[in-house]
């Protein structure tokens, strides 16, 4: 320390000086930018409009966009510190290739040549489908669209899926089964206009904080939150239903049972717009309040009260997230929710919607344009007409379009274990932390002949297994569009250059196509994301997710537009199915009888506790980004285990003690215990963000047979004091 500083003559004035910014007023000089770049937040799917402040080629500040229709100027803690992720120390800077066990820096040319050669070699030896590709919900739609073509036609593998399967696949499958197509039918505005809002397994206060601001605009609402934990969202509720884990189907069926008995259903709507009511009604017979009370642990009065509130509402909204989706019955739970909305006619009207709140910023983009679980524009692999149409649009032979979807994410991993998948390309996701039952994943990775990890960050826990790492640009460094949960497409803009040799994923895909000699065939004349967007507009034209009327300029001007937005449209469509016309061939929605089943791994004497996982507001997914943002990381630097005081007492645990969480599969060691009545006796909760205390060491390989989504939320564990058995 210098003397001037010590005696107080030097007060680091430069560091602490402030200046006037026309937008934010007096603020630290270091945070006053030269220009503000309008863009959309790259974390969750709420899709907040924001500006990134740039000074000397660096992002120095962010602020919410007051004119944006989603967030009206507000941002959550992650959004408010998002610019710090760009300059994080763990950014991937150069392509890295494993040679003799060590990662070495190589040039882009060598990296891509090696990748293409290895992939081609594996495909030549074991068949085209021996290559697996797992992407993300974090890219821009233009990149998803390009990647879909590159995977399916360029590499010719149909085994392409996204980590959206760990997140929204149940909602997608549920919507498809009920309505005939994916696509969330409602809008955020419904949160402001509904008089009853039922949130099931959705902790929006931690996970979609800006939606809480929308909720609070609604003064007339009754907010009902069904969640086994007393989450921050449950604390906001008028009625909290602390149901037993994974009993939501019984609750929803129970509500439907009461409403049918009480005549609080819309028979006219059922008649005109649905099929299958008789079967549904018969299946609901047994879901009497007594039976439902027994399953859910809720009092019968609570079930009656909830049912009557929902049934008598002028406009009732059901929102859900991972509490529903992360389940072996995820898709069916979505169907049960849709059933309830349909029999009461609570869909397609202001405030009335069964609405899945999506996870990642552009999970919707990959669902619509990505070519993973369906062909672009919600077309079906199984439909000859859809395949023909896509082949024509892409100017390829129809025989090149797969006739069924390839393996879903978990099946790609299991195929790697079985050595049917020999090479894997992972893009912008971190399965080592996010995939259930790590030991299976480890076995899969170790069985691969070549693993490519393309990411904005290096090292990541997943890149530790990689043979090749491709450094990618991230949010703030590239252009394109994100589509949020309410089908609003917003513009994403480049504020700064990517660090080192990192390149936008879009450029990487085009370069790979060039190496594959298919760039001209698949991406003729493309130079930037705008070309992909123009083609995607043509591909989506006339579909439910119609983008054909949008332009980049229009998106900039409106701060995001909801699809469908056909050519000539001037405003977006707030809600789908306003006319009661659904996407099944008969134009009707299907009411599907759904049976409640207990979750697969029930607690017993050796593993007496139910293990639940989830998030905290400070962190995003596996913390490759937020772990580097000091202000966020210092608020939640380590994982913790929530345990009820009753269980803690019987185990002799004190707050802040270190414990191991042990399942039949493995153990997570040294987790700090938080003794709280937020969790009920017999249950424990742990956040899933932390590589250092990876909850997915103990979670199980159990997947929804329909959506293939993992059952992250419940498994049986025991808790031991760390070191007690050593």
């Amino acid at each position: 320390m210098n003397l001037k500083r010590l005696i107080g003559l030097d007060t680091a004035q430069e560091k602490y000086s402030y200046s006037y910014d026309a937008e934010t007023g007096y603020t630290s000089s270091a945070r006053v930018p030269e220009r503000w770049v309008a863009t959309t937040c790259g974390y969750c799917s709420v899709g907040c409009g924001m500006f990134v402040g740039v000074k000397d080629g660096r992002a120095v500040a962010v602020r919410g966009n007051p004119a944006h229709l989603v967030n009206r100027g507000k941002l959550c803690p992650k959004g408010l510190s998002e610019h710090h992720t760009l300059a994080a120390e763990n950014r991937a800077l150069h392509p890295m290739l494993r040679r003799a066990g060590h990662m070495e820096r190589v040039g882009w040319d060598e990296a891509l040549d090696t990748m293409v050669e290895k992939f081609r070699c594996v495909q030549a030896r074991y068949g085209r489908d021996a290559l697996g590709i797992i992407s993300t919900g974090q890219l821009v739609t233009e990149e998803f669209y390009a990647l879909g073509k590159l995977a399916q036609i360029g590499f010719g593998t149909k085994n392409y899926c996204g980590n959206t399967t760990l997140c929204m696949a149940s909602a997608v499958a549920g919507y498809k089964r009920t309505f005939g197509s994916d696509g969330p039918p409602g809008a955020y505005e419904d949160l402001e206009r509904a008089d009853v809002i039922l949130l099931i397994g959705a902790n929006v206060a931690d996970n979609h904080p800006i939606l809480c601001a929308r909720l609070e605009q609604n003064r007339q609402k009754t907010l009902i939150v069904a969640d086994p934990r007393v989450t921050k969202t449950a604390m906001m509720a008028d009625i909290h239903l602390p149901l037993k884990p994974r009993t939501d189907i019984a609750l929803i069926n129970g509500i439907a049972h009461i409403l049918i008995r009480a005549g609080l259903i819309d028979t006219n709507y059922i008649e005109r717009h649905t099929t299958g009511f008789a079967d549904l009604k018969a299946s609901l017979e047994k879901y009497t309040p007594e039976y439902v009370s027994e399953i859910t642990g809720l009092a019968q009065e609570q079930i009656y009260r909830t049912a009557l509130l929902y049934g008598r509402a002028k406009a009732a909204f059901i929102g859900w997230t991972m509490g529903v989706n992360h389940s072996t019955q995820g898709a069916e739970t979505v169907n049960a929710i849709n059933n309830l909305a349909l029999i009461t006619g609570q869909i397609g009207r202001p405030g009335a919607s069964p609405f899945s709140i999506t996870g990642q910023c552009n999970a919707m983009g990959t669902r619509e344009a990505g070519c993973t679980s369906s062909l672009p524009g919600y077309r079906k692999f199984e439909s000859a007409a859809d395949r023909e149409e896509i082949a024509q649009l892409w100017n390829v032979d129809v025989s090149e379009i797969p006739t069924s979807r390839g393996l879903a994410y978990p099946d790609i991993i299991e195929a790697a274990v079985g050595r049917n998948i020999r090479a894997l390309w992972i893009i912008a996701t971190n399965p080592v932390v996010s995939y259930p039952n790590f030991s299976v994943l480890q076995q899969a990775f170790e069985s691969l002949e070549f693993l490519v990890v393309q990411d904005g960050f290096y090292p990541t826990p997943t890149s530790e297994f990689a043979h090749l790492v491709l450094p990618a640009a991230i949010w703030g460094e590239k252009e394109g569009t994100y589509t949020n949960s309410e089908r609003r497409c917003s513009k994403v803009n480049k504020a700064v250059d990517p660090p080192g040799e990192a390149r936008p994923d879009f450029d990487i895909f085009l370069s790979i196509a060039e190496k594959l000699n298919c760039r001209d065939r698949l991406f003729r004349g493309w130079t930037g994301p705008r070309d992909a967007f123009e083609e995607w507009k043509r591909v989506s034209k006339g579909r439910l997710c119609d983008y054909s009327g949008m332009t980049y300029e229009l998106l900039e001007q409106h701060g995001g537009v909801q699809w469908p937005f056909p050519e000539g449209a001037t405003t977006g469509v707030k809600r789908l199915y306003e006319d009661g016309h659904f996407e099944h061939s008969d134009g009707k929605a299907k009411l599907l009888p759904i049976e409640w089943q207990p979750f697969p791994e029930q607690p017993n004497a050796a593993y007496p506790l139910i293990f639940n996982t989830g998030r905290t507001v400070e962190h995003w997914h596996t913390r490759t980004k937020t772990g580097q943002v000091a202000i966020l990381d210092s608020m939640a630097p380590r994982a913790w285990l929530e345990m009820n005081p009753r269980d803690a007492r019987s185990l002799g645990l004190k707050p802040h003690d270190r414990v191991d969480v042990v399942s039949r599969r493995s153990r997570v060691s040294g987790v700090e215990v938080r003794i709280t009545e937020i969790v009920a006796p017999g249950q424990v909760f742990m956040p899933f963000h932390y590589a250092e205390s990876n909850s997915n060491l103990v979670t199980q390989s159990a997947f929804d047979p329909i959506s293939r989504e993992p059952n992250f939320k419940q498994c049986a564990v025991r808790v031991e004091k760390t070191g007690a058995t050593a």
């Binding site: 107080g8 003559l9 004190k654 802040h656 938080r674």
Partner: protein, 292 residues
């Protein structure tokens, strides 16, 4: 949530009115020792020692009990200078320390700086007068002691703030003056007063600990918990040093060793004073930055 009038708060935080009675702060079980403020430990103990020493010198001169050798006052003055010098290391901008004087009308800190500056000035004159055997020395001595008492009073009152409940009591004032009495009388070799003062300090600390333990207030109980758990070795050692240096050694004829050990005891006591206070805060996160 502490009441807003406990501090001059500029941020308005509202919590729901219907919070359950048994709701606890997320950081309820994470009470950690506060900052030790090394320069302040040195400054407060040494200024108190210097004031006590001048008081002893002055008293001895009053009763003409043979007086102390003239270098005694010079050493006491050196201690005072050392203490005041140490205190500047606590400031963000030591070079502008004089600015602290400006708020003497309302700030105990300002008054402390003022009183100790005057104390140092007069003490210098007193020490010089004793050295040169100037007759006005007794008057200067009395003035020195008066400013010293004002200084210690100001020091103590700085800590009487609602936001730090464990400090906000008469025990703080007693502790500071008893430190002066123990160390000053040992400095002046007045062993009976030293032993009496040490006994009173022992009582003062014991009563304070009982008060903390039995309080209804979370922050006070948490202070007691720190003393009896995280800091219990230092707490026991503090008592041992006080008994040894303040009572046993002076009464058994080891005055110099007694002064050294008693000074160490008071320094340790002051360290505990700073680190064991639990501030009245709004709830923080469940975590501390460091692993528990």
């Amino acid at each position: 949530m502490p009441a807003a009038d406990k501090t001059v708060s500029t941020t308005r935080i509202t919590v729901p009115e219907d919070l359950p009675f048994e709701l606890k702060k997320a950081d309820y079980d994470r009470v950690r020792p506060e900052h030790a403020h090394g320069p302040l430990v040195a400054m407060t103990v040494l200024t108190q020692m210097a004031v006590g020493a001048f008081a002893a010198i002055w008293l001895r001169s009053l009763i003409r009990a043979g007086g102390s050798p003239p270098y005694g006052a010079a050493i006491a003055f050196a201690i005072a200078v050392l203490a005041l010098g140490a205190s500047t290391f606590h400031l963000g901008r030591p070079v502008h320390a004089y600015r602290a004087l400006r708020m003497w009308r309302r700030s105990w800190l300002s008054r402390e700086v003022l009183a100790f500056s005057l104390f140092a000035g007069v003490a210098f004159a007193y020490a010089a007068a004793l050295w040169m055997r100037i007759p006005a020395a007794t008057l200067l001595g009395g003035t020195t002691v008066l400013f010293g008492i004002a200084g210690i009073t100001s020091s103590a009152f700085i800590y009487l703030v609602p936001a730090r409940p464990a400090w906000n009591s008469k025990h703080t004032v007693s502790e500071f003056f008893l430190t002066a009495a123990i160390l000053g009388s040992l400095f002046g070799s007045i062993t009976t007063i030293a032993a009496t003062a040490a006994g009173l300090q022992l009582l003062n600390q014991a009563v304070k600990f009982l008060w903390l333990t039995r309080s209804d207030e979370f922050e006070l109980r948490a202070s007691a918990r720190l003393l009896s758990h995280d800091l219990h070795t230092a707490f026991l050692l503090r008592f041992a040093l006080l008994i040894t240096g303040g009572i046993v050694l002076p009464l058994t004829g080891w005055p110099v060793l007694a002064l050294a050990i008693a000074t160490a005891g008071e320094m340790l006591g002051r360290y505990l004073f700073f680190v064991s206070v639990v501030p009245r805060n709004i709830a923080a996160s469940f975590f501390s930055r460091k692993a528990a």
